[in-house]
Symmetry: C2
């Protein structure tokens, strides 16, 4: 079958209108900030990947464009979950970013080399599909383009590129290996594309043999995708798998009766802190790392519990990240973006004082996020934490349950203490009026996101001493598992 062609004359006739359209769509995109566009450019060697991106950058305004060719992960990058480095580079709404191979990079090159396990492949596909579905729902348009040529064209082009000193560097060892195994690559790529082709983000296979055809086709794909991204209605057409129904009840946490005397508390605290200090200094810990998420009503004692944990840690090893309302920059990115930024490398510890669960707590209760969005967050969060634990990170999550009466008592005590008065503001009193709704939200959150590797611990928090010991003991147990 002959490769599709467009004559130079037809190209010149069509181009000006297409460029105008693209530029005006990009302007609309940038001013409205309605969505972001992530373009994956993959393809066989010498099919014109970089030429295409270079040309598109000529047609668009490069100020609002990012280009990333991440290559194989470096040693430092390997200490993070595989998708971490793509999260760092995701476009903010209003921007277009081109990724060479993008999150298909490691998966595809392993597939071609035959070095992936079957289970690993399945998981890679699952991770990719989940990521793309989430991005689309968080208003990132995902455009996937695969450029290819026939074997003869590829061979000819590689020979041409290698003939000149100026272009020789562009043909890598991997390219030559792939060219030698043309049929195998073709077969493997077909299976990858079909496994990751879905309605919301289909693959566009574009024949790269004829330059004019390739450029116009890719240009039109980009035009249609940006244009679709700017239609608010397209977001709604997507359907999300039905959730299992959860019986919703308020959390009823039994507070312990027996108070602990100070000596007993100090003794146990010291023992646990010693145990924790030893655990994080074990040589094996450098293959792991720790993520702690603290949730609970205002004045539940999150800060105090966190201090008892950090007391056992070295300052160089951990960071405490307070989570409050998202900044304007955060709001231009997918929801989980601001948390991915703080994920520790292997060997390090991040303690979140409030966390990504705000999505299904405050954002749900105070009606800050549409129901469809916070509802899908349960599955997204489970997948997010799974990616952390797959990397060896230990994850523990705490709900510090304070009763309505004890909370009131603490608010009043803080109001009387000049040093702590700043801790209770109008927002806290407003949240308190929603106490029961928070209990319902927390109850559903715990049921839906309690995973084997990322457990919730329900901590009765009316008695601070008991609460702190429970937290410390759980952290130690999590590390010993």
């Amino acid at each position: 079958m002959a490769a599709p062609r467009i004559s130079k004359a037809a190209f010149e006739r069509t181009l000006p209108a297409l460029r105008d359209e693209l530029l005006s769509l990009q302007t609309k995109l940038h001013t409205s900030k309605d969505c972001a566009v992530a373009v994956i450019i993959a393809g066989t060697p010498a099919a014109g990947r970089s030429e295409t991106v270079n040309e598109l950058l000529e047609w668009l305004d490069p100020k609002h464009i990012g280009v990333h060719a991440l290559g194989a992960p470096s040693r430092d990058e390997r200490r993070f979950p595989p998708l971490w480095r793509y999260w760092q580079k995701l476009p903010a709404r209003g921007r277009v970013t081109f990724f060479f191979a993008g999150w298909y990079g490691e998966y595809l090159s392993g597939l071609i080399k035959g070095s992936n396990s079957k289970r690993g492949d399945e998981r890679s596909v699952q991770r990719i599909l989940q990521l793309e579905n989430m991005l689309i729902r968080d208003r990132v348009r995902v455009v996937k383009i695969y450029l290819h040529t026939d074997e003869q064209t590829q061979r000819r082009r590689i020979a041409q590129l290698r003939a000149s000193k100026l272009t020789r560097w562009r043909v890598t060892k991997e390219d030559r290996w792939q060219a030698k195994h043309f049929d195998r690559v073709e077969r493997v790529v077909r299976s990858c594309l079909s496994a990751t082709d879905h309605k919301a983000a289909p693959w566009h296979r574009v024949d790269g043999t004829d330059e004019e055809y390739r450029l116009l086709t890719v240009g039109k794909i980009l035009r249609d995708e940006i244009s679709a991204g700017l239609q608010p209605s397209t977001q709604k057409r997507l359907s999300w798998p039905r959730e299992k129904s959860v019986k919703v009840t308020t959390l009823d946490v039994l507070q312990p009766q027996r108070p602990l005397d100070d000596d007993e508390y100090e003794r146990q605290l010291e023992t646990l802190q010693g145990r924790l200090a030893r655990l994080v200094r074990k040589t094996g810990f450098c293959k792991h790392g720790l993520v702690l998420a603290f949730e609970g009503m205002d004045a539940a004692g999150k800060g105090g519990a966190i201090r008892r944990v950090t007391h056992a840690l070295d300052a160089r090893q951990y960071q405490v990240v307070p989570i409050s309302a998202p900044t304007p920059e955060d709001l231009l990115h997918p929801y989980l973006w601001r948390f991915w930024r703080h994920i520790p490398a292997q060997g390090a510890i991040t303690i979140f004082d409030r966390s990504w669960y705000g999505r299904v707590l405050v954002e749900r209760v105070r009606d800050l996020t549409p129901e469809a969005d916070w509802k899908r967050a349960y599955a997204e969060i489970v997948e997010f934490e799974r990616q952390l634990t797959e990397q060896g990170l230990r994850v523990a999550k705490f709900w510090l349950a304070v009763s309505k009466e004890e909370q009131l008592r603490r608010f009043k005590a803080r109001d009387d203490d000049p040093l702590k008065r700043f801790k209770v503001d109008r927002e806290d009193w407003a949240n308190r009026r929603h106490y029961d709704e928070y209990q319902i939200a927390a109850s559903e959150m715990i049921r839906r996101t309690d995973a084997d590797d990322a457990r919730w611990t329900l901590v009765p928090a009316d008695d601070k001493k008991h609460a702190r010991l429970t937290v410390l003991k759980t952290v130690c147990d999590t590390l010993e598992r």
Copy 2:
């Protein structure tokens, strides 16, 4: 001389009040966002550096604190100017950050090992003093603490640490080397501290032998420094070296008379783009890199000139960074912070569409920044660019000079073109009313910041073709130098 001591009893008596003070100052700091605090903790091995930071983290609210022990630069980090990685970690206003050794790290360890050149040392000191002076003026309080003990104490502590399996890891090879060469280290450190001791950021030498004395002393230093940082008046006491006076005139740019015909232009353009393409693909370029800054009145043709440059580049090699008004996050950091974030590694290219020169252009003309601040920016910018060129980066800066008449013509033409109408907004017309003041500001900027390694090129821009060719030719010449 006996090491200073504080009894346990006296310590327990003093501590609660000090902790209260520190916590309340930290709260003030965090709520007012009046300044940031960068604490350098340096010292001899086993003098209690990490113990001190751990303890301070107990006293303060760890949510608003950062801790960085950066160690020797990694291979990736070496591709950036030495201070680059500290800029990435600078605290935002409202926060306290502890740096272990901080920007003294490489300098001090080279000094101790005797591996620095005399000229290198002088330059290191100069860079440090300049950085600290700038930070202080940009409302970052710089607190420098050096902990030390006598030789006997050090030897005893190192033996103790090495005796237990749990603490042995804390004694590095470098620590043991330093302990063996106690006198040499002491002598060298004295010279370093005295060279970098200045009124605005003095060194605090603290005897670390007695734990209680050490903690209270450091705690009090921190209290006094935060408290001083919260006094707005302290900023004004600093004096900045007198500048040489510059005769201020408006820029009078001679626009070329001879128009270029299209064929001639295309031919020259292609030749220059080919030359540029070859230059950035030379193997030597990976030791360099390129920073281009484009300035000029609205409609001077910056975007068009930038496109003619990027046309010769590969999309994976460059990024175009548009600079507009600083974000709220930018405003919490020292002025140059947002530009440091985009500095390319060796081998890469960053093109700034407007730049750090906004400080002495729009911020000066539109009265957005106090005179004292934009006046000191000249020297700060020269130093900033010097650090780039020292790293091997080539720097070229362009002022695209458009006449008042031509600017008006372009504004009107844009208004008539539906695709370009977005490019002229009310702000542009407002800037145009200040045309003459911009000329004065640009003239002074060029005279004060034209450095041998980071040249200004004055580009007559009424004729777009001439302007684009001049820019391309200058970029090529800069790379060939």
